[in-house]
Symmetry: C2
Subunit: 192 residues, 2 copies
Amino acid sequence: MQNQPFTFQLPKDANPPSVWDNHITRRLSSMKGQYLDQAAYEAMLAQDDTLLYEVYEIQRPHVVGEFLQGVSIVHPGKVGDEYFMTKGHYHEVLETGEVYYCLKGQGMMVMETPEGDWCVQEFRPGEVLYVLPRWAHRSVNTSRDEDLVFFFAYPGNAGHNYGTIERQGFRKLVIEQNGQPAIVDNPRWKQG
Amino acid sequence: MQNQPFTFQLPKDANPPSVWDNHITRRLSSMKGQYLDQAAYEAMLAQDDTLLYEVYEIQRPHVVGEFLQGVSIVHPGKVGDEYFMTKGHYHEVLETGEVYYCLKGQGMMVMETPEGDWCVQEFRPGEVLYVLPRWAHRSVNTSRDEDLVFFFAYPGNAGHNYGTIERQGFRKLVIEQNGQPAIVDNPRWKQG
């Protein structure tokens, strides 16, 4: 781990940043129960445990005042009509925000709060997206054939709570309708 | 202030980001005692209270877990041989870092700790610079004729301590030598 301030280059394409410590890969099998069309999910998984997204993380201490940074790459594709997406999570320390900066592709960030507010923001290269404290967040690649690539930074102490979203899902889904991304209610959403 | 997650476009040139709340301008008169060549400083100030840099801030609550974000523009120029630069500061809450992303121009970040470590990092478009917790930081525009433009994000509770740097300066200066930026000792630096 660096003990001096440091710089790194962000990728223009779906490459790693010039500094990274961990490379996380998430495949279809890690998204059990998350996609609306469960039959399409099972059929796809029977063919291949497709790589959905990758994260390059830069290590820092997991404490207040530090930033955890990295680059995520969400690959293009769909499960049924639903676009490839990240697992999505709340921060374990709920009152912590996150800064995203889109580098490539086109996507949407699906967000909601424990109180029932929701918000879906389009996300294009050159844009910063600020996820306020308390908002669960999931990124979705709405492109047909291009990677969605973005930089992220969040507080060192934030932690990840994946469980709540695994149990209840997000209130909104992003699916392809008539060749366009559409935001629809998630009929399987349930408080839990 | 936004009560939902929001996006904003970062400028490609020395323009404001697409969302901002405060516009801060810093002129030569606010840098009294900071430049090495005090005679050059006084002569320049007698001519004009030149605009050195500008900051566009996005407001958020000043609390742990939030991010304060914005865009800074350091104009090109010199006082004597010393490049235009920001005031520079420690965070009031010393154990807080800061993330920078360079959008345009060329510059250096001059940094040091209360313990006497120092570090000067070059800073180019497309690069992230991570200022670790405990490091005072000042940005310097080393270009002859181009603005230095960068995005920043720091913890909502960090605060600014300008006083320590105003009293003691930074251990290192960035000056022009033979037409090139050079990092030199600050003969006026003093513990205080």
